[in-house]
């Protein structure tokens, strides 16, 4: 087999992105819980620097970064590779993790005065493990390596759900773990079938080798559906609402914003890079149907929720749906590859702006919970008076979810709508609009409460420091700022894509 990968000069950055958090975990174990927060925050900052360095290298070089581990070429060796989309994911991950880290640090300082509780140390270790696993997913090129990264991600995410150790959260975590395990085992089975057929698991090599055959069809079906279980797309969303609503606010934020994006990212790569064109079209149609149902059904469910965090969790399932309706819209054509379509940019932008907006929302909800000791929407009348910054953060994040200008969500939905109209998918256009209306409904329900006059003077259980609220506001503002991107295909997301052969194209 000819070598498809060659280490680029700055390829070591990819290794750094994966390894750095792991080293930090070891350092925490070595140095003890006292310095956990400090080490974690330093590492998250360094991770952000690495992420920005990767993005700058991508922009400067205009091609993907690669690293072949140990100089062993696939199929025996493992390659890491970051193109524009991966770069964007890595930067987004580093940003959200950094913000969540700041939030968590202030929140823990609030509770045990900066002391090092066991839950706190666990949180920092898990957060770092999450960072490593996410980066590994975004730069991985080997399907089995990706399986390991996904499992690491699950193992880091599951304990985050039950960090407070209450029976209901442990139950939610177990349910999450088992369903995710089922999903990843299906994925593993698919990996085995692909190896049996092609003798390699390297995505780049597969994109050149793959052809229509039953083994590949079965493998793709198993892998995609397995990943769907981890992404919690309707009707496989059973585990998400209790898990995301039960977790502590910073954990919910990373779970909703980042963790479920990793399987979505892999599905995108499977469908666009590995699947032959006909199969990609079929899978895309089916995923779009599921995505559309997810948007409508789970938005209604979000409207029905009485608790703020459950509402946000259902909204996550709904918003994930938008990422799946991208598939048929970004199908591309002979002279317009998928990554040059506006739907590709729209999808990526939806992914990123949802990550920012949803983490802001969960953090704001965390502040509300911290201040009031509950998150029943009906009893939150006038919370905007007490927590104006959090209410503003929630509102701004809501604007992005609803797709109201100027916000990243608006640009994303506008691009997807344009693609739906131009490609002739009126039912998808209608779904996008209806989803926006329903999102308006559930966001507005909370905003209306925030602006209302409190029935009785508001009793705040605990004064919440400004810092916590500012973090949420900053994330929400970032989601809004994305709205200043131009309404056309974004070049950064296309970097390194043309290196992949036109597997998804006729």
């Amino acid at each position: 087999m000819t070598s498809v990968h060659a280490t680029t000069p700055s390829g070591f950055l990819l290794v750094l992105a994966v390894i750095l958090p792991v080293c930090a975990v070891l350092a925490i174990v070595a140095c003890g819980p006292r310095s956990a927060a400090r080490i974690a925050m330093t590492t998250l900052a360094a991770g952000l620097a690495v992420a920005i360095a990767i993005a700058m290298e991508l922009v400067a070089g205009g091609t993907a970064l690669s690293y072949v581990v140990g100089g062993w070429q696939p199929p025996l060796g493992i390659a890491l590779r970051a193109d524009g989309l991966s770069g964007a994911m890595i930067v987004m991950t580093a940003l959200v993790l950094g913000a969540v880290g700041l939030f968590a640090r202030s929140q823990y300082a609030l509770h045990d005065g900066g002391g090092a509780g066991r839950a706190q140390t666990t949180f920092w270790i898990l957060l770092l493990a999450l960072a490593s696993a996410l980066n590994a997913t975004f730069v991985g090129e080997d399907l089995f390596n990706l399986y390991v990264a996904l499992e690491l991600l699950t193992f880091a995410a599951v304990p985050l759900v039950c960090l407070d150790g209450r029976a209901e959260t442990v139950k939610a975590a177990l349910r999450y773990l088992l369903f995710a395990l089922l999903g990843s085992l299906l994925y593993l089975l698919g990996t085995g079938l692909i190896y049996g057929q092609y003798g390699t698991l390297d995505l780049l090599a597969l994109s050149q080798l793959s052809r229509e055959d039953p083994a590949l069809s079965a493998a793709l079906a198993l892998m995609i559906v397995g990943l769907l279980a981890k992404a919690a797309l309707f009707p496989l969303h059973l585990w998400l609402p209790p898990a995301h609503a039960g977790a502590p606010a910073p954990a919910s934020a990373v779970l909703s914003a980042l963790v479920i994006k990793a399987p979505v990212f892999l599905i995108l790569r499977l469908v666009l890079d590995v699947a032959p064109p006909q199969a990609a079209a079929v899978a895309g149609q089916m995923l779009a149907v599921l995505g559309a149902v997810s948007i409508l059904f789970c938005s209604v469910m979000a409207l029905r929720q009485a608790r703020l965090k459950l509402m946000i969790a259902y909204s996550t399932v709904a918003q994930i749906g938008y990422l799946f309706i991208v598939f048929p819209l970004a199908a591309g054509s002979a002279d317009l590859p998928p990554w040059s379509t506006i739907a590709w940019t729209g999808g990526a932008l939806q992914l990123i702006s949802h990550a920012l907006a949803k983490s802001a929302m969960f953090l704001a909800a965390g502040v509300v919970y911290e201040a009031f000791g509950h998150d029943r929407i009906a009893d939150l009348r006038g919370f905007g008076r007490v927590l104006p910054i959090s209410a503003a953060a929630f509102g701004l994040a809501g604007l992005s979810l609803m797709g109201i200008p100027p916000s990243g969500g608006f640009v994303a939905k506008c691009l997807l709508l344009t693609a739906a109209v131009a490609e002739g998918y009126p039912w998808l256009a209608a779904t996008i609009l209806a989803g926006g209306l329903l999102a308006g409904g559930y966001v507005f329900r909370v905003i209306d409460k925030a602006l209302a006059n409190p029935a009785a003077p508001i009793v705040v259980q605990r004064a919440v420091p400004r810092r916590l609220e500012i973090v949420a506001l900053a994330l929400a503002a970032a989601a809004v700022m994305l709205g200043f991107l131009p309404l056309r295909p974004f070049e950064f997301l296309q970097i390194g894509r043309s290196g992949v052969s036109m597997a998804g194209l006729p």
Binding site: R175, F179, L182, G183, L186, E212, D213, P214, L216, S217, A218, L220, A221, L222, V225, G226, L228, A229, P235, L236, H237, L238, P241, Q278, A279, A281, V282, A283, M286, L290, F297, V300, M301, R304, M402, G403, I404, P405, P406, C414, L417, T418, V421, A422, A429, L433, G436, L437, G440, G441, F444, D448, L451, A452, N453, F484, L485, P486, L487, R488
Partner: protein, 543 residues
């Protein structure tokens, strides 16, 4: 950038800058005081900037501002009303505990509304439309009563619906366009070549009709206007509804014409004009009567636009703007007048009532007032067919409604203790009243191209006077049926929507049941396997 460009930019950015300034505690405390200043750059732009001037912003803002004659006419009237209503609010709400919040919503709505009249590109039009729509919610719910929240919810639902219609229409309009943010003028000029043009126009009419309040999409007006504080009602009824008018002016192809859709607009307009009158005369509250009068007047504006679209007559947009500015000033003055009347008693009451009567009857076309001018200016365009007849009779209807309004306010103020209104409220009201009486005279020769002298001919006076007399006579007959009062609840058909509520609730519960079912472990497990088999089967069949 030229001086006129700078003024245009200031018209949009000055209110936004004031709103941003409210982030500081100090400025927020006196935010109410600056409301009167906020629209002044826009007023200056309307008065000083010559037609056709524009200002461009490069990426990433991609903003184009352009002033044409309909835009300038609407902008001037709206800015004047915003300024006067702001001054009124500074006096009437000075002791409101939530006044700074009110001021922020006010500034945002103002920036959106005024910006709409001058924005020239598609994306920023949508942005400002959204800003104006959503920020107005803060004005509607300001009083925090249950009625205000109900009105607010209904308003937001309809506003979001309008947004959705507009968004898809704009996307369909610009989808085939190479530039991501084209100029409104150029996309509309190319509309006739668009294969989806009928859908686009239908969605535009639907979206903007929601904002204007054309029947049956008018339900938010009679709920929101009475619920809001008086100065807010004045701008809601005077300016915010005009966002729909400017939208239709901008996005309908008046150059090319579309007879079918012109006919649709005419039809909806006439229905709305009469419907507003019929429901209005059954109302008890003065503000609600005015809100229904606004519904009726918006119907008349829709007819004017429809006629223009039918005849491919771009001049119709100017005449519509002229009619609209008359309505802006008169309706604004009437709403402020309700507040002034409430604070007046004794000797002065008669004088205030007299001025109110002049204003109110102006809507019906009282000779020599702006209403008569607006009707005379639009007469030639309407011709002598059934549409002209229907419009004349609608004028009679407006008179009926306004007589009803006058009787209602006289009744309401009968027992007022002797007092004179605060100067801070009286002066703005008088300013708008004076403006409504004077400005249309100044604009008449520009818009209609005829000298003012023609307006003083007895024939012209009679043309507008007889429908008024007819309307007044009809109202006198109607007064014999007092049981009509309260026969139709405020918001009329929204009550019918209430009947659908159990259905919606049941459907929603059904969704909840399905979700609970799907989220059971065995169900989800089988779902997972079934999906895998389904997808695998589909892939293999295709392979």
């Amino acid at each position: 950038m030229t001086a006129s460009g700078l003024v245009l930019v200031a018209a949009l950015l000055f209110p936004l800058a004031l709103a941003a300034g409210c982030l500081s505690e100090r400025l927020r405390a006196r935010a109410l005081g600056v409301l009167v200043l906020a629209p002044l750059p826009a007023l200056a732009a309307a008065l000083l900037v010559p037609d056709g001037r524009f200002a461009l912003f490069p990426a990433p803002f991609r903003l184009t501002l352009v002033l044409d004659r309909p835009g300038a006419i609407l902008l001037g009237g709206a800015a004047l009303l915003w300024s006067a209503a702001g001054a009124y609010a500074a006096s009437s709400m000075a002791r409101d505990p939530a006044r700074s919040r009110f001021a922020i919503w006010w500034l945002l709505t103002l920036a959106g509304c005024l910006g709409l009249f001058i924005v020239g590109d598609v994306v920023n039009f949508y942005l400002l439309f959204t800003l104006a729509s959503l920020a107005a919610y803060g004005l509607i719910i300001h009083e925090q009563s249950a009625a205000a929240h109900r009105a607010g919810v209904i308003y937001v639902v309809l506003a979001l619906l309008a947004e959705a219609f507009l968004l898809i229409a704009l996307v369909m309009l610009a989808a085939t366009y190479p530039d991501a943010n084209p100029q409104i003028r150029s996309v509309v000029a190319n509309l006739s070549g668009n294969p989806m043009r009928d859908g686009i126009v239908a969605l535009f009419i639907l979206g903007f009709a929601l904002k204007m309040g054309l029947v049956p999409l008018h339900v938010w007006l009679p709920l929101a206007h009475p619920a809001a504080p008086t100065p807010a009602s004045a701008v809601l009824s005077g300016v915010v509804v005009k966002a729909g008018v400017i939208g239709l002016i901008r996005f309908l192809p008046f150059e090319a014409g579309m007879p079918v859709w012109g006919g649709v607009l005419i039809g909806f307009g006439i229905i709305t004009a009469y419907y507003g009158v019929i429901v209005g005369v059954t109302q008890r509250r003065a503000k609600t009567i005015l809100a229904y009068s606004t519904v009726s007047q918006m119907g008349l504006l829709a007819v004017l636009l429809g006629v223009g679209l039918d005849a491919a007559d771009p001049a119709a947009t100017e005449l519509t703007a002229y009619y609209a500015v008359h309505h802006t000033l008169v309706k604004g003055a009437l709403f402020l007048g309700i507040g002034v009347l409430g604070a007046t008693g004794g000797r002065r009451l008669g004088l205030v009532l007299l001025l109110t009567a002049v204003l109110a009857l102006s809507l019906g076309g009282l000779p020599l007032t702006s209403g008569a001018l607006a009707k005379l200016a639009t007469k030639p365009m309407l011709g002598y067919g059934w549409i002209a007849g229907a419009m004349t009779m609608a004028g009679a209807g407006s008179t009926m409604l306004m007589v009803h309004f006058l009787l209602t306010v006289r009744n309401d103020t009968r027992d007022n203790p002797a007092a004179s209104p605060p100067r801070g409220q009286l002066v703005p009201w008088l300013t708008v009243t004076a403006a409504s009486l004077i400005i249309p005279w100044a604009l008449y020769p520009i818009v209609s191209g005829e000298p003012v002298a023609g307006l003083l001919q007895p024939a012209a006076l009679w043309k507008v006077a007889w429908p008024m007399l007819l309307g007044a006579a009809a109202m006198l007959i109607l007064l014999r049926f007092p049981r009509r009062l309260g026969a139709i609840p405020e918001g009329d058909i929204v009550e019918l929507a209430g009947a659908g509520e159990p259905l919606v609730r049941r459907a929603s519960d059904r969704v909840g049941d399905v979700d609970a079912h799907l989220r059971r472990w065995p169900m989800a497990g089988f779902g997972l396997i079934a999906l895998a088999i389904l997808l695998g089967g589909a892939l293999m069949l295709r392979a």
